[in-house]
């Protein structure tokens, strides 16, 4: 599904030609395959002096995953990943040594390599110097990500509320960023806090025994989400409007789940989803709000039908279903519920002709932040994923030139695949990610617009 240009500049004669002409060459991204190594090479762990203890802890975690972990940046290695630990850095001047050690390593970073920073979030109690360094990591990471080439990405784990680097959610987030599952996640800082994690993580089948509901599962990103959750061990209830029932049946049969033809805007949609999951599969653990529509029009030409239908499907339905899910959580019918909603970079950066869409997608970012704490009481989380330009049937219909620009306007110089969005959702839905709550994770290849 890689676009034609990316294919051309990576194969045969056209590859040589593109190199000679100095054309931008989007890389073929390494994507997750069960059984494949976590990283493409050894992992370099560096830190400033103050953060050395945390770096040691993380290095031991990486060793536990059978990775080749090095602490000396001067090693002559083709790096699979560089982990920069700045958790205890107190003053901007103190970051110098560690950061400058990363520099030369980047020259030997393998294709689809990873740079991951681990730092602490700003808190109101931070003094000016601490605030400067903690904030500084953000700008640093986003810039490093833009300097990386050949499918390499840079992302940051941001520790909140005093969580330790040995917390499973911190480890799981680091692992996600190191892995091929985060192929199209780039330039993102993801906050992780303390939360109770039940049991040992199963990295191969993290969702084994879980029951997940995916709305809008008939095709595109929804179908990819259903397949990815099923690959990770979940039983998937595939939901879509009755009119999309044929595609829905196809998805459900592929993932060996069940098809539920249901309009998410129905007043009792949440109740019916809960009933179906519990009666047919015994439980409900994950709900992915993927169903969404676009009805683009400049606001000057917007009519009520376009505005209202987008609001009804993209945000009002999620709120109504979430309210019914929260009630079920309070009753004890569901526990540890994970909600993941689809936002969009349009909702973060804005997009001409999409006032309605952006209104709802930014609304998703907002309600996710508000719903997270409500679910935390019963061991659950609510998070969102904001895709950038993803290659789907929907984006196929964007005019050629606009589509090309949208693709190239990211650090990775290409659009993402539906599976890239699905991997992020599967991560957020996994038990080990419980410390990530109320967040919106962008899956946009570090799109140049927005944050």
């Amino acid at each position: 599904m890689t676009d034609a240009y990316t294919r051309a500049v990576n194969t045969g004669l056209t590859k040589t030609l593109a190199k000679k002409l100095g054309l931008p060459r989007p890389a073929l991204l390494r994507r997750y395959k069960p059984g494949a190594p976590l990283t493409v090479g050894p992992v370099l762990v560096v830190s400033d002096d103050a953060s050395k203890a945390d770096a040691d802890t993380l290095a031991r975690t990486l060793l536990g995953w059978d990775l080749d972990v090095r602490r000396d940046a001067a090693d002559d290695a083709r790096w699979g990943a560089v982990v920069l630990v700045l958790t205890e850095t107190a003053r901007p001047e103190d970051a110098s040594g560690a950061v400058l050690a990363v520099g030369p390593a980047l020259k030997r970073l393998a294709p689809s390599g990873r740079v991951v920073t681990v730092s602490r979030a700003l808190t109101p109690a931070d003094g000016p110097e601490l605030a400067a360094v903690r904030s500084g990591v953000d700008g640093f990471l986003r810039s490093v990500a833009k300097e990386l080439r050949a499918g390499a990405t840079g992302n940051g784990v941001v520790l909140t509320d005093g969580v330790g680097v040995d917390h499973l959610s911190v480890q799981a987030t680091l692992r996600f960023f190191l892995s091929a599952k985060s192929a199209y996640v780039d330039g993102q800082m993801l906050p992780v806090g303390p939360a109770d994690v039940a049991g040992e993580p199963d990295w191969e089948r993290p969702l084994a025994g879980k029951v997940a509901v995916v709305t809008g599962a008939a095709r595109g990103i929804g179908a990819a989400i259903a397949k990815t959750l099923a690959r990770d061990g979940a039983t998937v209830v595939c939901v879509d409007v009755p009119a999309a029932g044929d595609g829905l049946a196809r998805t459900a049969n592929q993932v060996r789940g069940t098809a539920l033809q249901l309009d998410v805007t129905a007043a009792d949609a949440g109740t019916r989803i809960i009933e179906h999951a519990r009666q047919r599969h015994g439980r409900l653990d994950i709900v992915v709000h993927n169903a969404g529509i676009t009805r683009d029009k400049l606001l000057a030409n917007m009519d009520a039908a376009r505005w209202d239908s987008v609001v009804a499907v993209n945000v009002a339905s999620q709120l109504r279903i979430n309210a019914q899910l929260l009630e079920a959580a309070e009753r004890g019918d569901v526990a540890g519920l994970r909600i993941v909603s689809l936002a969009s970079t349009s909702g973060i950066a804005g997009n001409r002709g999409q006032t309605n869409y952006a209104f709802t997608k930014a609304g998703v970012v907002g309600h996710t932040a508000a719903t997270g704490p409500l679910l935390a009481a019963t061991g659950g989380t609510a998070n969102a994923v904001a895709p950038g330009f993803i290659e789907t049937d929907m984006t196929k219909h964007i005019p050629f030139a606009t589509r090309q620009v949208a693709r190239r306007l990211s650090s990775l110089l290409q659009g993402g695949e539906p599976v890239d969005v699905a991997e992020a959702i599967a991560f957020l839905a996994s038990p080990a990610a419980v410390g990530v709550n109320g967040q919106t994770l962008r899956v946009c290849g570090q799109n140049m617009v927005g944050r």
């Binding site: 060996r256 069940t258 098809a259």
Partner: protein, 463 residues
């Protein structure tokens, strides 16, 4: 495995011949239940499904059912179904559909055909095996396409080709082929005319309609109610878990939600135009509006034992209580071609100790609007019931508000073998819904007439 407890043996009725079995462990009769159904939207011939084959349509119906109930990789007891208009290459049609589906390839299947009663007869066959304990689960259904109907060569050409293939020498072969006459090259389209009378089904029913004095207006009222009721059911989402779209069609395309008595009254009669000169002075009354159109489609119903449904965490909509088929002599006798269900139902009711008053919902297949009306009129007719059905008097009057409450074939269309599955699944959901609303058991009677003077009927009740 079959239930073999004495408790369930005690449940069997006295009429089932349970004399001392030669095998001591012979399973007792038990319930067969309807779990749910699925069909593709029905489409008027030559439209959306113009190039869809029976195999594609029935496979699609199966796949939707598999998806709805999570049956991927499941080895079912049996899949039974058929098609009325069938290519000779489709000799194992249903088995081929199973192999093309997500069901376990170890699921057996067989084709069955009883004209328009195919779908219901398949359900009878499957439920009987379930009740006997021979299988735990099964799918019954049917499919038909008029758009992709087989076209045969003439009898002369067929004979010549067969002779040529049997010939041993070139000379013999040429001799065989030399018998072909230009007229033999005209292809034969499939005909649904009755082979023994040469009359189409419509012409036959026109005779019955005239005999029972059924008016044009009464027929148009049935047609209107069918469209209105079906449209209402679609709007209410009744079919959300009964239908899966196919080839871009999301609803039955024969449905005319905006039809009216005025519009129906404007249509010209198509059947019975030559009757007026005969001994019956009736005006022709049967139009394209109150007769079913030629339609393409497929349907499938999941049946099971209660234990199987429970073990698979699946719902139970209705119990398949009993069934009765009948046939009438329309060739030499005087009975109407589509009157067999009229004969079957009294026998079915009597065997189960029921009367028409015990039935809450009637699903009478609308081959024509007048089929419903002649059926109801016959049951109300004292003399007819005495002389033709051997009853003491009229079987009874059916409250019209209980008939085809969510529409039937006039609105949905009638892909012959697919109709039984459509009716059974809808009726099962209806009794289940009604029972949940009223808190009382709800019973439905299903009646399907068929070519050849055949008819199949069944009783289901909320489980």
């Amino acid at each position: 495995m079959a239930t073999r407890s004495t408790a369930s043996a005690a449940k069997t009725t006295g009429t089932s011949a349970r004399t001392t079995p030669s095998t001591p462990d012979a399973p007792a009769l038990r319930d067969a239940v309807v779990v749910g159904g699925n069909r593709i939207p029905f489409s008027r011939a030559g439209k959306k499904y113009a190039d869809a084959s029976n195999q594609e349509m029935f496979t699609a119906a199966l796949e939707g059912l598999v998806a709805r109930f999570g049956l991927q990789g499941e080895r079912l007891g049996e899949v039974v179904g058929g098609a009325v208009l069938k290519h000779s290459r489709d000799f194992n049609l249903i088995r081929e559909c199973v192999l093309g589906s997500s069901l376990s390839p170890q699921t057996p299947a067989y084709d069955l055909q009883q004209a328009c009663a195919t779908g219901l007869e398949a359900a009878i066959a499957v439920s009987n095996k379930i009740r006997l304990g021979q299988i735990e689960s099964g799918i019954a259904g049917g499919t038909d396409t008029v758009s992709d109907a087989p076209i045969a060569v003439s009898e002369g050409l067929r004979r010549a080709l067969l002779d040529a293939s049997h010939a041993k020498t070139l000379q013999q072969r040429l001799k065989a082929l030399a018998k072909v006459r230009p007229g033999d090259l005209k292809p034969l389209s499939p005909a649904t005319d009755e082979p023994r009378t040469g009359l189409s089904m419509g012409e036959h029913q026109a005779i019955t309609t005239a005999r029972w004095g059924i008016t044009r207006e009464a027929q148009d009222e049935i047609a209107l109610a069918s469209h209105k009721n079906l449209a209402k059911a679609w709007e209410a989402g009744f079919f959300d878990d009964l239908v899966t779209p196919f080839r871009g069609l999301t609803r039955d395309d024969n449905l005319r939600a905006d039809t009216s008595m005025e519009k129906l009254a404007k249509l010209k009669p198509v059947f019975g135009k030559h009757l007026a000169t005969a001994d019956v002075p009736a005006e022709p009354t049967m139009t394209a509006g109150n007769s079913t159109p030629l339609t393409d489609g497929a349907s499938a119903v999941l049946l099971a034992s209660r234990e199987w449904a429970e073990n698979h965490d699946l719902p139970v909509l209705a119990r398949f209580v009993d069934a009765e088929t009948a046939a009438v002599d329309f060739v030499h006798g005087h009975e109407g071609l589509l009157m067999a269900p009229v004969h079957a139902v009294p026998r079915l009711l009597a065997r189960n100790g029921l009367t028409l008053d015990d039935i809450d919902l009637f699903e009478i297949h609308e081959a024509f609007a007048s089929t419903v009306l002649t059926t109801l009129a016959a049951w109300e007719d004292d003399e007819y019931c005495r002389t033709e059905l051997g009853l003491d008097g009229a079987l009874g009057k059916v409250d019209r508000s209980k008939v085809n409450v969510n529409g039937s074939s006039l609105a949905a269309g009638h892909p012959f073998a697919a109709t039984g599955g459509r009716i059974l699944a809808s009726a099962a959901k209806l009794v289940s819904q009604r029972a949940a609303e009223t808190g009382k058991p709800v019973r439905a009677l299903i009646s399907v007439c068929a070519a050849g003077g055949l008819g199949a009927t069944a009783i289901i009740e909320s489980a």
